[in-house]
């Protein structure tokens, strides 16, 4: 690192410059005055311009596996959504329970959780929420409990797999934890927390879950088969998704990174959707597929990885890890639980992506104290549970929450920050308490 740090302008300490830039970036992201991807790229650019990192070192900090996995899944889900499958599943599931408001709440929540676990939770809520609002409008019931349940279940479902939520993708990629390891370790708590959370939401809103026979008949009149707009694309998408999932399950054993599988899957689906079309038509459709990628998120990741890498090379992360160990007395159990609760509380109010990006090298730095990298598993699961479930604490806790809130407001069903906080922060604490018991029971 000496070669990189000696060129810092004005002889400033790289430790101070990288910390100041990271904190300034973080602060600016919180204010939401400037788009977060712009802020992160500016911060990363300044790091290189000020000589804290050279370009080569900056690029080394970027986790291309995380970016590739997100990119591939975004393309696959974007194309799949054009087939109408999300509307189909939502309507089909509502009709299975005879459009009873409580049954619809349970079914749509379950659908949201499962899709969030297997795809990504932002896209899931983006596609499930409009159908939900249509159904609640037809039933003439309040949309609030449904939207809140979908927010909560999207984050709980997302916490269960490697690909469900960005924090898990980052942890899995940085540490080399497999898709199967995430399911084995994180699906069990999600399977307990999901139903308990849903039961509490249903009980709290039980007086609102009443519909007449007439409004229920309207929903029962929906023909879900008509929601499938492109049956050929649907078959292709489901086949590719199934293969991608199988690839994730097998990837670790055969030494292939998840990003390769996701991007290869995206390429295959693009091929299937385009090979029979004219050149001009292909260009239009492929352009459309790439436009569905959330570039803001991806560029935010790029900037953030560089900023965190600078903290790492300058020794800031090592220093923070020492402070954490000093606070927990170097006790493994205390450290794991501190990470769980600390991540949850912070992730409720802050963006969990930069938080997890910082915590990953920090936890890695504790390997020597706790007997090597292999022994750190419980700390990673505590971080994943805290960061994913913590997002349920406030309306700004996770991207999925903001997407639902934005859509609900446009559709005339605004979700107030305080109302959400009052009901969901305690629910988040319940989920972390369950995770606490799980972590202690299983690992400590």
């Amino acid at each position: 690192m000496a070669a990189q740090t000696s060129t810092v302008v004005f002889g400033w300490s790289p430790l101070i410059v990288s910390s100041a830039l990271f904190l300034a970036t973080y602060a600016l992201v919180i204010t939401e005055k400037v788009n977060r991807s712009i802020v992160a790229l500016l911060g990363a650019g300044l790091l290189v311009l000020l000589g804290v990192l050279n370009q080569e070192a900056a690029l080394k900090g970027i986790d291309f596996n995380t970016l590739g996995l997100l990119l591939g899944m975004m393309v696959i889900v974007g194309i799949t959504s054009h087939s109408g499958v999300f509307q189909f599943v939502a309507i089909w599931s509502a009709k299975r329970v005879s459009a009873h408001p409580l049954g619809v709440l349970v079914m749509l929540s379950a659908v949201t959780a499962v899709f969030s676990a297997l795809l990504d939770n932002v896209t899931t809520v983006l596609l499930i929420v409009p159908v939900t609002l249509l159904i609640t409008d037809q039933l003439k019931v309040s949309a609030y409990p449904y939207l809140v349940a979908e927010v909560l279940m999207s984050n709980i479902g997302g916490s269960a797999t490697l690909i469900g939520d960005p924090p898990n993708i980052m942890i899995g990629s940085a540490v080399g934890l497999s898709f199967n390891a995430f399911i084995v370790n994180l699906a069990p708590p999600a399977l307990v927390i999901g139903p308990i959370t849903l039961a509490i939401v249903a009980w709290l809103s039980r007086k609102e879950l009443i519909a007449t026979a007439k409004t229920r008949a309207q929903v029962m009149g929906f023909d879900e088969r008509e929601a499938i707009t492109d049956p050929r694309l649907l078959k292709q998408s489901l086949a590719v998704l199934a293969l991608v999932m199988a690839g994730f399950v097998a990837s670790h054993a055969v030494g292939i990174q998840p990003a390769t599988i996701a991007i290869f899957g995206a390429a295959v689906l693009l091929l299937l959707d385009n090979y029979h079309r004219s050149g001009g038509d292909q260009s239009k459709r492929v352009h459309h597929a790439y436009a569905a990628v959330e570039w803001i998120t991806l560029f935010f990741f790029v900037g953030l990885f560089i900023l965190v890498h600078a903290l790492e090379t300058a020794g800031v992360i090592h220093w923070l890890a020492e402070r954490l160990l000093a606070l927990t007395g170097g006790d493994f159990r205390t450290t794991a639980l501190a990470i769980l609760w600390g991540s949850a509380i912070l992730s409720a109010f802050l963006d969990n992506i930069p938080f997890v990006a910082t915590m990953i090298p920090l936890i890695e730095s504790t390997a020597d104290t706790f007997g090597g990298k292999e022994a750190l598993g419980p700390l990673w699961w505590s971080l994943a549970l805290g960061a994913c479930l913590g997002g349920n604490g406030t309306l700004i806790g996770a991207s999925a929450n903001l997407i639902v809130a934005g859509f609900a407001e446009r559709a005339g069903h605004p979700i107030s920050f305080l109302r959400f906080l009052k009901s969901c922060f305690p629910l988040m604490l319940v989920s972390i308490a369950i995770s606490h018991v799980y972590v202690v029971w299983r690992y400590l």
Binding site: G84, D137, G221
Partner: protein
């Protein structure tokens, strides 16, 4: 003679912002007009209410908003059910259904510029006095055709 002021329709049908939507429907049906400028009590331009706004009333809210439902093929309400929806909206205020995003032109705007805007927006153009904000007329493809052909 190359400005909007020279050829505009100086007495277009208009509707008050606080009037009922029913009035728009009546004028539209009677005069075969697709859109009407909306004004306040002092005659200041506020927006445009069009038949598209009335069509939107038939649609569920979840399909009307940005990133809403992509299609509604799975819903098949009867004509009577749709009629009931329209019946219930007649007493709503024009203000709640007008489009405030239709930018007006001014009497001194060139005819060619107005033609370009109409071509791009496929809308008639309210003509508004720059100083007072009052509606002084309407430009539509008819005005251009009547004068130029």
């Amino acid at each position: 003679m190359n400005h909007v002021a020279d050829i505009l329709n100086p007495q277009p049908f208009t509707v008050g912002a606080d009037g009922p939507l029913r009035k728009v429907i009546d004028i539209a049906l009677e005069r075969h007009i697709r859109s009407l400028p909306v004004t306040d009590a002092a005659g200041r331009y506020l927006g445009v209410v069009s038949l598209h706004a009335l069509l939107a009333l038939l649609l569920p809210q979840a399909a009307r908003v940005e990133h809403g439902l992509a299609d509604l093929a799975f819903m098949a309400p009867t004509v009577e059910e749709l009629r009931e929806v329209v019946r219930g909206t007649g007493s709503e205020r024009v203000r709640d259904h007008m489009d405030e995003g239709v930018a007006p032109v001014h009497p001194e705007t060139s005819i060619l510029e107005a033609a370009l805007l109409m071509h791009r927006t496929r809308e008639n153009l309210p003509v508004v006095d720059r100083e007072t904000g009052r509606l002084v007329g309407l430009m539509s493809p008819w005005e251009i055709l009547k004068r130029l052909v």
